[in-house]
């Protein structure tokens, strides 16, 4: 009669997939992700790529040395962000700005102590981050050159001065042959982050959904008929698996939308520039991600099902699931905090606590280097507790679905279990 498990599953899935709420939410989320996926490209398009350099005016004849320095600096750049435009007099600068001939203009003020004039960039909006930071950098360069010209340094020495310091961080690994590079580390952190958030959302949204559905079945009394046609255990697992598959379908759609957009040619180049390459993901890490995701999901889902089964009215559900919600929240926040300190004692302890370990253990595998026995021990505890909690939840479920009226206390549930002989 494994048919009935399948029947419950497909019924749950059919109703979820058909519901308007689900369809709308998936479409909206997918659209958001498409926008987010194209965001780096869009930002670049909107800021830098809006057709040539920003025109910045200056009054001809003022501070010629500085202006010439700036000009030659920008001339050397392959993509100058700023184009300097000479305007006859200082008075005409303002009208040129008003007409839109220039985006802004520079004014100078002597500063004998600094040996370099004070420069003011005047523009229509004070929020011209890109242009002003470009100008600051250029002016700094010009000032360097001006000062260095007097010091009589050779061109080679100047080049040495200008060259940026080469600095890299590399994590030392004791288990692998070579440590992870910064790029791999970055990808690992990103993946950890994504997995933790996805697990958190899956537990919060899908878990709640499972609990709500079960309570709704109870409060509409349809439960009485269902439990007389199919064993409660099959019904519970059918519900959990059905909702899980729906959540998976949703994730596949969303991740698919994101990845499809990220791998579009215009996006993948930008991502490569950021040092973000999807192909550098460690396959072992992905396997761990999937394992801990599933483990975390089923651990919490059975608990939500059990809670849902003992509540008779949907109004009371929020209060009843509060402890589990808190557990998830705590696990989530410890994990977020732990991203920066993956080796703190708190993390090492929490990696063995079943309700937190899906978050914490995976995080430590991703960003720290836990010993293999730590991982094995943590996974062992996790699997054991999933089985134990699944078993206990099934028992609670068995009696919970038949108990109506006020929410039963722990004592009443135990009593009912004895009476029902489950």
């Amino acid at each position: 009669m494994n048919n009935s498990l399948w029947t419950v599953m497909s019924f749950t899935m059919r109703n979820k997939l058909r519901s308007k709420g689900f369809i709308i939410m998936t479409v909206v989320l997918a659209l958001l992700l498409v926008v987010a996926g194209n965001l780096p490209y869009l930002i670049e398009k909107l800021s830098g790529g809006s057709g040539g350099a920003t025109k910045v005016g200056y009054a001809e004849g003022q501070q010629t040395q500085v202006v010439e320095g700036l000009k030659s600096h920008y001339a050397k750049l392959p993509e100058p962000g700023v184009e300097l435009v000479g305007i006859a007099s200082e008075e005409q600068l303002k009208s040129a700005l008003e007409n839109g001939d220039i985006k802004g203009y520079l004014t100078f003020q002597e500063d004998a102590a600094a040996g370099f004039p004070k420069v003011t960039y005047n523009s229509k909006s004070a929020f011209e981050g890109g242009t002003s930071s470009s100008l600051t950098g250029a002016l700094q360069q010009v000032k360097y050159d001006t000062v260095l010209d007097g010091a009589g340094l050779s061109d080679a020495q100047k080049a040495q001065l200008h060259a940026p310091v080469s600095f890299q961080t590399q994590k030392v690994s004791f288990t692998n042959e070579e440590g992870k590079t910064e790029e791999e580390q970055g990808i690992a952190i990103a993946l950890t982050y994504v997995m933790i958030i996805m697990l958190f959302m899956a537990v919060m949204i899908t878990g709640q959904l499972i609990a709500t559905e079960i309570t709704a079945e109870k409060s509409s009394r349809v439960m009485e008929i269902i439990v007389t046609s199919v064993s409660p255990l099959k019904q519970m697992w059918g519900k959990i698996l059905g909702t899980f598959l729906v959540a998976m379908i949703q994730i596949v759609i969303l991740v698919g939308a994101l990845v499809a957009n990220l791998s579009l040619p215009h996006n993948s180049d930008i991502l490569k520039n950021f040092g973000f390459d999807l192909s550098t993901i460690d396959p072992l890490l992905l396997i761990f991600a999937i394992f801990f995701y599933l483990a975390g999901f089923f651990l919490y889902a059975t608990l939500f099902a059990a809670i849902g089964s003992i509540v008779s009215r949907t109004e009371d559900l929020g209060q009843a699931v509060m402890p589990i919600t808190m557990l998830t929240l705590v696990g989530f926040y410890i994990a977020i905090f732990g991203l920066n300190q993956p080796d703190s004692t708190l993390m090492v302890v929490c990696q063995y606590i079943p309700f937190f370990s899906p978050f914490i253990m995976f995080l430590r595998i991703g960003v720290a280097e836990p010993a293999w026995w730590e991982i094995a021990f943590s996974i062992g505890i996790l699997i054991a507790s999933i089985l134990a909690i699944g078993w206990l939840s099934a028992k609670i479920y068995r009696v919970g679905v038949l108990m109506y009226g006020k929410r039963p206390s722990m004592k009443e549930i135990v009593k009912a279990m004895k009476a029902y002989k489950v």
Partner: protein, 301 residues
Amino acid sequence: MNPLKVDRIIKNYGDKRAVNGLSFEVAAGEIYGLLGANGAGKTTTMRMILGLILPDEGDIRYLGNSYSEQQLSMLGYLPEERGMYPNIKVSEQIMYLAQLRGMSRKDADKNLKLWLEKFQVPEYYNKKVEELSKGNQQKIQFIAAVIHKPKILILDEAFSGLDPVNVELLKTTVKELRDGGTSIVFSTHRMEHVEELCRNITIMHKSNPVLQGPIKDIKKKFPQERVIVTADGKIEGLDKIPGVRQVILHEHGGYELKVDSPAVGQSILKHALDQGPVNRFEVLEPTLNEIFIKTVGESHE
């Protein structure tokens, strides 16, 4: 062999005994009445028959077999508190419930259409349950209980909350199912339905079966204590006849007398005939309602 055989079942909830040594059998094509005041143990008994809870002692046999998951598909259940998925189409949920009972989707669909046709509401196929009136929801619920052609059907308060037309409709359907060979356990507080439908009954009181057997035999155990006599004119001195305890004058003529024994009826008839022609004379057997109140009410003292 009877399809349903309940043998001395006992169920305790903690210290409280919910059902104490109840036995009965339901033959094929029989409606068995399970009566009792609220909290007498009827629901617990039905839940045990449905296999939701196991009896502490005793045994329930389905066509000779003990309870197992295979029996689930031959059981049908109409619970006292009606419930369906409010915002799912009638066809979807009936087919779901039928599939859970082991039917194929195709058969379920065919049967559902037949039933909707029978109840003259084929247009409900694509409607959501919340769009239907309460009485019509009940029809759908009834279909859900019988769509898989159960051999054993349990009806808990099947006709409550229905208008007389729909009660008649469902009653006819229940009789048809009975004639088709279904064993039906029927629980209700409406005694006139029991008298009309049931062959055998059990009256439960405070977990104990206090009165059991065929309705005819049960009625014989209770003395015939009521006499109705009607004449054109007044009948004087009825209250003077020995053995008459009470005389009630009915609004539209006629007297109802409470008597000590059925034999008193003869002297009442003689007395009435002496005063003129008698239109109606009847020694009434007790109604089930009276028996119920007497059985359950008296042991309350």
